[in-house]
């Protein structure tokens, strides 16, 4: 009850006219920055901090947090329309979102993404108000050992991404893991597969790679034909029908839970949340084979999950004073620049700021929904631009995006290289989703295993001491073994069937 009272007090702060304006400004800027590939939420928030020096602390933080979760709305737009992920967390939306755009359902995909984002953000904020304490205690159970087990579970889901050929899906998964090995190794700090390039020391940049594999590869496929003949997508309805809304309800709810939960675990990124939600949807779906051909579930789940993650990642900031993701670290910096230290103490010292900011999350999500739904009509008009013009603009757009990740032309070349690789892999009928999954989780796997073994000074027994890790790893083992069982049973049936005939 007390929480609700406090929240009401927070709303009086968040709904004050000047704070509404700040939430609106943050939402608009966030959407815009989300649309630009390369410039992500971290850079966006950091850029804006100096501008907020003159503002009241509450107003400043309302604006910066709105910008942060606003980018998750914006990142979707280019993924769906152009197959170019605006943010890393929206990469997976390319698979079904772009397929939907090709069928003329871009408006539907964008609407569902916006609605899902709204619900995900709101549910995560409700969790923050009602259950922050217990959720935080749960999150604290996740040490390096449990984190490692969680990553292994995530990697085992790779099998769930296999389409027609298990071998091809596995090859792509391993390829992603090999790419994840590039850089300074976490054990000795030696450069590994860097070909003497300093730029590879921190690993291959995720954003240039996915922009190449998805966006550029798509353009290369299209240039095979006369560009004036290429039509990217048809356009029909903007508003989702009853069936589409019904199909999205489950994914949105599951995405909210997955996103909020992963938001609590430091080190888990929004892209991991959206990806795991995609796989979860594929697993529970009755038609898993149709994923990748424009299933609304493949847009609704991930787009909800990445927003729930953005808001969920703010929970440990308020309860423990720990920034669970790089962007939240920047927001923490913003708090401190205004002389506030985020953490449990904030609720006692500055309840108006703490609750005002939390209430503003609801307000901001409503603003973003109202802002984004009418914009969809404008966004889809992009698809009316003749392709001969559009493709050149996309190329320029991606080059600027790749450059701005770390202000280096090297990343543009990486993007071009992976564009060619993506093009060839598509021609050879390889699925691309497994590479993205392992590229997200791969770097975390080796590092978290190493951290876990540091704790036990090399003994694997430490994994068995953690009940959570044992459960997660057993789950992973079951997921890995189940398809093999099914395969053998099928074969047996086939053989016995042949004998009978």
């Amino acid at each position: 009850m007390e929480a609700l009272q406090n929240l009401l007090m927070g709303f009086t702060v968040a709904l004050a006219p000047q704070n509404l304006v700040f939430a609106f400004l943050g939402s608009v800027l966030g959407t815009a920055i989300g649309v630009l590939p390369g410039v992500g939420p971290v850079a966006g928030v950091a850029m804006l901090i100096p501008l907020t020096f003159q503002m009241s602390p509450t107003g400043a933080i309302i604006m910066l947090t709105a910008l942060f979760y606003g980018t998750q709305y914006g990142g979707t737009i280019t993924s769906i329309l152009l197959n170019v992920p605006g943010e890393a967390a929206s990469a997976i939306t390319c698979l079904d979102g772009y397929a939907m755009a090709k069928q003329g359902r871009a408006g539907v995909a964008l609407s569902i993404a916006a609605i899902g984002s709204f619900i995900g953000g709101t549910i995560a904020t409700i969790a923050l108000v009602l259950a922050a304490g217990p959720l935080t205690r749960m999150a604290l159970q996740f040490g390096p050992v449990e984190f490692f087990a969680l990553i292994v579970l995530g990697l085992s889901l790779l099998m769930g991404l296999a389409g027609k050929s298990m071998v091809k899906a596995l090859m792509m998964g391993i390829l992603g893991l090999i790419l994840a090995m590039v850089g300074m190794d976490p054990v000795r700090g030696l450069p590994r597969f860097t070909f003497g390039r300093m730029e590879f020391m921190d690993g291959i940049g995720f954003v240039p790679v996915i922009m190449g594999l998805f966006g550029l590869a798509e353009i290369l496929v299209n240039t095979e034909e006369k560009l004036s003949l290429v039509s990217v997508a048809k356009m029909s309805s903007l508003i989702p029908g009853k069936k589409e809304i019904g199909d999205s309800a489950g994914p949105i709810l599951r995405g909210s839970v997955i996103g909020t939960a992963l938001g609590l675990v430091p080190g888990m990124t929004g892209s991991a949340a959206s990806f795991l939600s995609y796989i979860a949807e594929k697993k529970v779906s009755k038609e898993p084979d149709r994923f990748g051909t424009g299933m609304i579930e493949g847009v609704a789940g991930p787009e909800t999950a990445n927003n729930a993650h953005a808001n969920g990642a703010l929970i440990p900031l308020f309860t423990l004073g720990i920034p669970a993701s790089p962007t939240v670290a920047v927001i923490m910096g913003a708090f401190m620049m205004h002389g506030l230290i985020p953490g449990p103490f904030l609720f006692k010292e500055h309840p108006d700021v703490a609750w005002g900011v939390i209430a503003s999350f609801y307000v901001g999500n409503v603003i973003l929904l109202i802002l984004n739904l009418p914009l969809i009509g404008i966004w889809v008009k992009i698809l009316k631009i003749p392709y001969g013009l559009l493709f050149a603009v996309i190329v320029a757009f991606m080059m600027v995006g790749a450059y701005s990740v770390s202000n280096s032309t090297f990343d543009i070349l990486v993007m071009v290289l992976f564009g060619v690789i993506g093009y060839l892999l598509r021609k050879l009928d390889f699925p691309l989703a497994p590479i993205v999954l392992t590229l997200i989780l791969g770097p975390l796997m080796e590092r978290s295993l190493r951290t876990a073994l540091d704790m036990s000074q090399g003994s694997f027994g430490i994994i068995l001491e953690s009940p959570i890790a044992v459960v997660l790893l057993s789950l992973a083992a079951a997921i890995l073994i189940a398809p093999a069982f099914r395969f053998f049973r099928k074969r047996k049936e086939m053989l016995s069937g042949e004998e009978g005939a």
């Binding site: 090859m171 190794d185 590994r192």
Partner: protein, 158 residues
């Protein structure tokens, strides 16, 4: 088509040998657990195994891939390579000519030749995409796009 798939499988096999070979030179195990070479070695080995399986699959009659041209016809291939070449060239030129000039030339080429857009529209978009983007990113997004390193161009403010 089958030949191409077999060739690709061999490429993957060669790649996995390379990965495993590189990993071989790294420490395999340390007192505190897997060393730098542990995962790459296994990944290389598994990749090799999978490539071999795929090679066998595509070589067999059942796994034969669907027929169809792998590469586009000549005209399309030329266009594709031209687009790629322009991107690479513009990237290298960026460090000398600066972002604005390199991007202007890239857009000029892409819009006029493969894109077949009218000249006035090309010039407008190319200016917007080079000079416009440069100033937008520089002043509002804090991203300093490359400046020209050739003295006479720097003098022109590029």
């Amino acid at each position: 088509m089958q030949r191409i798939h077999q060739g690709a499988a061999l490429c993957f096999l060669a790649f996995s040998v390379f990965v495993a070979w590189e990993a071989w030179n790294l420490e395999y195990y340390t007192p505190l657990g897997p060393g730098p070479g542990f995962f790459p070695l296994w990944l290389g080995a598994i990749m090799g195994g999978l490539s071999a399986v795929w090679f066998v699959q595509t070589s067999g009659r059942r796994g034969r891939p669907k027929e169809g041209a792998f590469l586009p016809e000549r005209e399309g291939l030329v266009r594709l390579l031209a687009v790629l070449g322009t991107m690479v060239a513009a990237t290298f030129l960026m460090d000398f000519l600066g972002f604005q000039l390199a991007m202007f030339l890239l857009l000029l080429y892409l819009l006029l030749i493969p894109g077949r857009q009218p000249v006035w529209l090309t010039l407008f978009i190319a200016l917007l995409g080079s000079v416009g983007i440069y100033h937008l990113f520089g002043s509002y997004l804090d991203v300093q796009l490359p400046k020209a390193s050739l003295a006479f161009l720097t003098g022109l403010g590029l």
